[in-house]
């Protein structure tokens, strides 16, 4: 092996190690966040977005609880129909089947948090629930309990 190869070999090994290391590591850095205040209805993301059934307010409360405990993402939909998927509330990073989040299904809330936009989805890290008005979208009087009734 010549002198040139002797000089290049350690660099090549280092480059290979770095490449492999980067390939196996998790995300290298956090994505940029934007501090936001969001006001809207806490929703069952699947039923509301797909419109597969009536999924607004008190009429859908029961099903929204089923879906939240079933691990379907819970979101907030604001009056412009922007959807914010909740990934964390304060220090609580349980975003699947979290009974605490299920307790506020269908509530009208205002939250402060950090927004991360990625590939067409708004992800929200809630820092604080600033206001919780409970359920104000009373729909069951018109359409009953959706789906399946009581």
């Amino acid at each position: 092996m010549g002198k040139r190869a002797d000089r290049l070999l350690p660099a090549a090994v280092l480059a290979a190690v770095l490449t492999l290391g980067l390939a196996w590591a998790g995300p290298q850095s956090a994505q940029a966040t934007t501090r936001v205040t969001v006001t809207g209805e806490v929703i069952d993301t699947w039923c509301r977005v797909t419109a597969i059934m009536f999924a607004e307010g008190s009429a859908h409360y029961q099903c929204a609880v089923w879906c939240a405990i079933g691990g379907i993402p819970v979101s907030i939909m604001d009056e412009d129909e922007n959807v914010y998927v909740i990934l964390r509330v304060g220090e609580d990073d349980v975003s699947a089947a979290n009974p605490t989040i299920a307790r506020i299904q269908a509530h009208q809330v205002t939250v402060e948090g950090d927004l991360i936009e990625r590939d067409g989805v708004n992800y929200l890290l809630v820092n604080r629930i600033a206001d919780d008005q409970g359920i104000v979208n009373v729909t069951h009087e018109d359409v009953g309990i959706q789906p399946f009734g009581k």
Binding site: G26, P27, A30, Q31, C67, L87, G120, I135
Partner: protein, 172 residues
């Protein structure tokens, strides 16, 4: 921006195999999609907060395509249940999935219906929640699990079926 992400998503799925088996539901914006990706903990992917086990079923899971597109998995084949338990078994590993990509006006996500090891033949139905629920609740199966689940029953008992204690419930 939305158009850009749509293009990126289309490119990411360009190599997807034709979906022959996904059960279509007739949802606006649904697209049967079978592809390979890495199963990831979404919070980890976005923030760098990464428990080794992807949160062991407590965190929302996603699919990270080879082109770097993150797809939230919102639903599985179990009624009223998400795909977290189906995907967490593949935490940070490649998996082939079959299901529906829902590209709605307001957001997008994936319904996983089947999974398998890439390069193998045998599919597993995305019903991990059912199996887990039945084991945890000592039931033979998870039929109508949502009517029997203790956490759900406690919430409905406390707040009523419309979430407003004492509300008059219309006769069906």
């Amino acid at each position: 921006m939305r158009h850009l992400s749509l293009i990126i998503l289309a490119l990411a799925l360009a190599h997807a195999q034709p979906a022959l088996a996904a059960n279509e539901l007739g949802i606006d914006g649904e697209q049967p999609s079978q592809f390979e990706a890495r199963a990831v903990d979404v919070l980890c992917e976005l923030t760098g907060d990464c428990p080794q086990d992807c949160g062991a079923g407590t965190r929302q899971m996603g699919l990270l395509t080879d082109d770097g597109v993150l797809i939230l998995v919102a639903k599985s084949s179990t009624l009223f249940a998400g795909g977290v338990l189906d995907l967490v078994a593949w935490c940070n590993r490649r998996v082939e999935v079959d299901g529906l990509l829902i590209d709605a006006e307001v957001t997008r996500f994936y319904m996983v219906q089947r999974l398998r090891e890439p390069g193998t033949e045998k599919w597993t139905r995305a019903r991990a929640f059912s199996h887990s629920w039945a084991r945890a609740n000592k039931q033979k199966n998870a039929n109508r699990w949502f009517r029997k689940d203790p956490a759900i029953r406690a919430l409905i008992e406390e707040f009523g079926p419309v979430g407003i204690p004492g509300a008059k419930i219309p006769v069906e």
